[in-house]
């Protein structure tokens, strides 16, 4: 290691109210490397990087950049020092063009904008240089998420940066787009730039990094050269204990058809077609996965199945009974459980207590209610049981669910939905916003359900989640099911192509 690192973070501390986000972090980044920052959700990766790029000010500690102590009061000051960050939630204004986004906040506020041609030319030149396919006159809201991300990266380059921080950039990409991004990172380094790559995906980190720092509980616990470690070791560093990477599959063949969807179509809230003729069966004792880049109709499919979005045509049959177009309450009562994608919108009521949330669908049924009055004791007992069985970290059952961490909220939703003993369980993003430890636990719960003969439909954008527990994987693109694959990692390329909408099979050689 050189004795003068490019960027040195020294014993940084940051609190948000009672939450300690950074608990004395120290880290060194060298010039011209790809340095990955690995850690579970809530480990403090994003906050740390936000402090480097001027979004958040540290309470204690110092940042030494190119040999000088720096204190950025705003991202603008960091950009002036040639440090840029691509955030998980893009900082692009949707109703403006790419070029307008780039010049936002530049120059005097009262300036008349008359140099747009020059700006466009500069963007085109940069876009060509890194093969980014960014059109300066495109309106951001018309672009796909992958395109928007390239627009964000180019924005940083446009402003002129030497250090680029990418916060979980691959979460929204197809495998092919991910490949492209990883090779772009290589190109940037070749041009003399330094990249910090925040991720919780072990394989990507292993592929692209020079060095890897693992964060846990607001600290950097290890920094290693990529050649001196492996995925298993990194996982252990992240969680602080051994993690089972492969979950056992049951040899039992699937049973009768529990849920049958025939030619389902429905429109998104915008009125545009979102699900275009989806047919699928889910049998007892199997977990069927639906893979796809988000925004390809998965959200609408799950809302339509659970009665939250009107069905235009087609049929949904559960246990031989047509449930198409029934209201959510009736569907819920038909042995149908739903673990929704957007927990805050469809899963829980943030301001209500754990026990009130635990009986959201059954508040009017025995034993929780009698003659129109709630039975507090039965509700409390039931909730305490759920909390205990699913290890929901909470003070007691009367605590507002909104004050729990995302992972614990999700555990309660999973507990509630499974406690209803459904024949069919619809899951959209099982592990959203929960850490790897809790993820392992809810996945095991899903497998238990499968082994007990339940039918599970798991919609996910996380391929790891699908590979880990599904018996077969359907790929959704543009509102259609494009194909089916076994959960076999060696066929990842094929899966990626389907996720990008490419169905044509390459001709078999020889």
């Amino acid at each position: 290691m050189s004795n003068k690192p490019f960027l040195r973070i020294d014993n940084i501390r940051k609190r948000f109210g009672p939450i300690v986000a950074s608990d004395g972090v120290s880290l060194e980044i060298e010039e011209g490397e790809i340095h990955s920052l690995l850690g579970e959700n809530g480990a403090g990766k994003s906050v740390l990087m936000s402090m480097i790029c001027g979004m958040v000010r540290p309470d204690e500690g110092e940042i030494v950049y190119r040999g000088e102590v720096v204190r950025f009061n705003s991202p603008r000051e960091a950009i002036r020092q040639r440090i840029g960050m691509v955030h998980q939630h893009f900082m692009l204004v949707p109703n403006l063009t790419v070029a307008e986004n780039y010049i936002l906040g530049q120059g005097s506020a009262l300036r008349v904008i008359n140099d747009m041609d020059k700006v466009h030319a500069r963007i085109r030149a940069l876009s060509d240089r890194y093969a980014l396919d960014v059109r300066p006159d495109a309106v951001v809201e018309d672009l796909s998420v992958g395109e928007q991300q390239r627009v964000e990266i180019l924005k940083a380059l446009f402003h002129g940066i030497d250090l680029l921080i990418l916060d979980e950039p691959t979460a929204v990409l197809t495998p092919q787009e991910t490949d492209r991004l990883l090779s772009l990172m290589g190109d940037l380094v070749k041009d003399g730039k330094t990249v910090v790559f925040i991720s919780h995906k072990l394989d990507e980190v292993m592929r692209v990094s020079n060095r890897i720092s693992v964060m846990r509980d607001g600290r950097v616990v290890h920094t290693v050269d990529v050649g001196e470690t492996n995925a298993r070791e990194l996982a252990r560093m992240m969680v602080g204990r051994d993690v089972r990477m492969e979950l056992p599959r049951s040899p039992e063949p699937a049973g009768r058809i529990v849920l049958s969807v025939e030619n389902l179509t429905c429109r998104a809230e915008t009125g545009l077609p979102a699900v275009r003729g989806v047919s699928l069966d889910v049998r007892a004792g199997e977990i069927v996965g639906i893979a796809g880049v988000s925004g390809n109709g998965q959200t609408e499919l799950s809302l339509a199945l659970s009665g939250l979005l009107p069905v235009d045509s087609g049929r949904v049959v559960l246990n031989g009974k047509d449930i198409t177009g029934l209201d959510p309450a009736r569907i819920n009562a038909s042995s149908f459980s739903h673990i929704p994608e957007d927990r805050h919108k469809h899963g829980i009521v943030m301001s209500l207590s754990l026990s009130e949330n635990a009986i959201l669908q059954r508040y009017d049924q025995a034993p929780f209610a009698a003659r129109g009055m709630l039975n507090g004791r039965a509700i409390g007992e039931h909730t305490r049981d759920l909390i205990k069985r699913f290890r929901v970290k909470s003070r007691d059952e009367n605590q507002a669910i909104g004050s729990l961490s995302g992972g614990n909220q999700q555990k309660l939703v999973v507990a509630r939905e499974l406690a209803r003993n459904p024949d069919f369980i619809l899951v959209n993003q099982l592990a959203r916003g929960i850490d790897i430890g809790a993820m392992e636990f809810v996945m095991e719960e899903m497998l238990k359900q499968r082994d007990n003969g339940r039918a599970v439909l798991l919609i996910s954008t996380e391929l790891e989640e699908l590979f880990a527990i599904c018996d077969r994987i359907l790929v959704m693109f543009h509102g259609e099911i494009l194909g089916e694959l076994p959960p076999d990692r060696s066929r990842l390329d094929e899966l990626g192509l389907l996720m990008a909408g490419k169905t044509e099979q390459p001709a078999l050689a020889g």
Binding site: R76, V93, P94, L96, L104, G105, G107, A109, I113
Partner: protein, 310 residues
């Protein structure tokens, strides 16, 4: 009505429509600025009343219409500062504060007017029509468009200026961004609250001007509640106009036409509809418009939401 009479009727109607649209044009273009920055100011009605009163009081004291108009703008902006303080700095609910300012505007202007002016009952000299040479002598068009007072003509200037500022300056670009993705503006190093203050002040200044036109360019007197709902109609105009200044100009003209039609039909003996129904025309059209032009469409996505800086 023979053809000639009908043409005259039409010309008078068009001329009156533009005149009656003028306060709406000012107020709605102002509100476009405010809403583009994410601030929904439903206190326009009260703001216009304040503008109308300040304009009247100042003009009757100084005898100058120009100073009166300036006072109307400043009065509106003072009211806007109050709104901005509560909604942007204190982050109170925009609807509640707007409603409060409407009540305050109505009560305050009525109180001051009764205290100082009602006994005198004195009117003021209002802005006189300026006949544009040659053009005002054109048949039909002359009567409709070229015999207005300067304030009415200035609506064109204000519209063009507003569109240029909004779409061709760095200020306008940032303003449009503030209503859509304030955090991006914050990250780009601009002060979100500052832009919202500016937008509210532009908005309420123009609303004040619209109010002042009522007393200085239209009627020569202040009357309690002289705006009679124009502030609310301006809010509807903004929606119909899809948050565009030029759109606001033309939609305001359309509403001006309803006002004019209503007035002229009342005077027409051959029309047998009760005059109350005619009077309700602009308001009915507002409701119809809001039903027809619905959906979120171009609404700034952070409209009505305070911005929390981290």
């Amino acid at each position: 009505m023979d053809d000639m009479m009908f043409l005259t009727f039409l010309a008078t109607l068009m001329g009156a429509a533009w005149r009656l649209a003028t306060p709406l044009i000012f107020a709605s273009i102002g509100e476009v600025f405010s809403e583009r920055a994410g601030v929904l100011n439903i206190g326009l009605e009260g703001t216009m009343l304040v503008g109308a009163f300040c304009g009247f009081a100042t003009a009757s004291a100084t005898g100058s219409i120009l100073i009166g108009l300036l006072a109307g703008i400043l009065g509106g902006m003072a009211f806007g500062l109050l709104f901005a303080l509560f909604t942007i700095t204190i982050k109170a609910d925009q609807i509640v504060v707007g409603a409060a300012l409407n009540l305050l505007g109505m009560g305050l202007t009525a109180f001051l007017f009764r205290t100082y002016y009602v006994s005198t009952g004195k009117g003021i000299e209002i802005a006189q029509p300026v006949h544009i040479p040659f053009l005002s002598d054109l048949p039909f068009l002359g009567e409709a468009f070229f015999r207005q007072n300067l304030i009415v003509y200035s609506t064109i200037l204000v519209t063009i200026l507003a569109a240029l500022v909004l779409y061709r300056t760095s200020f306008g670009l940032t303003l449009r961004a503030v209503g859509e993705h304030p955090k991006a503006v914050d990250v780009a190093g601009r002060n979100v609250a500052g832009y919202r203050y500016a937008a509210v002040l532009v908005g309420t200044g123009l609303a004040g001007l619209g109010g002042a036109f009522l007393t200085l360019g239209h009627s020569n007197q202040f009357v309690e509640g002289i705006t009679s709902g124009r502030g609310f109609i301006a809010l509807a105009v903004v929606v119909f106009a899809r948050w565009s200044p030029t759109g606001a100009f033309f939609v305001s003209l359309l509403f001006g036409l309803f006002y004019a039609l209503q007035l002229m039909l009342q005077a027409e003996a051959s029309v047998v509809v009760p005059y109350q129904v005619l009077q309700a025309l602009p308001y009915i059209m507002t409701i119809v418009t809001l039903i027809v032009v619905r959906g979120k469409g171009a609404a700034p996505s952070k409209l009505g939401q305070p911005y929390e800086m981290r």
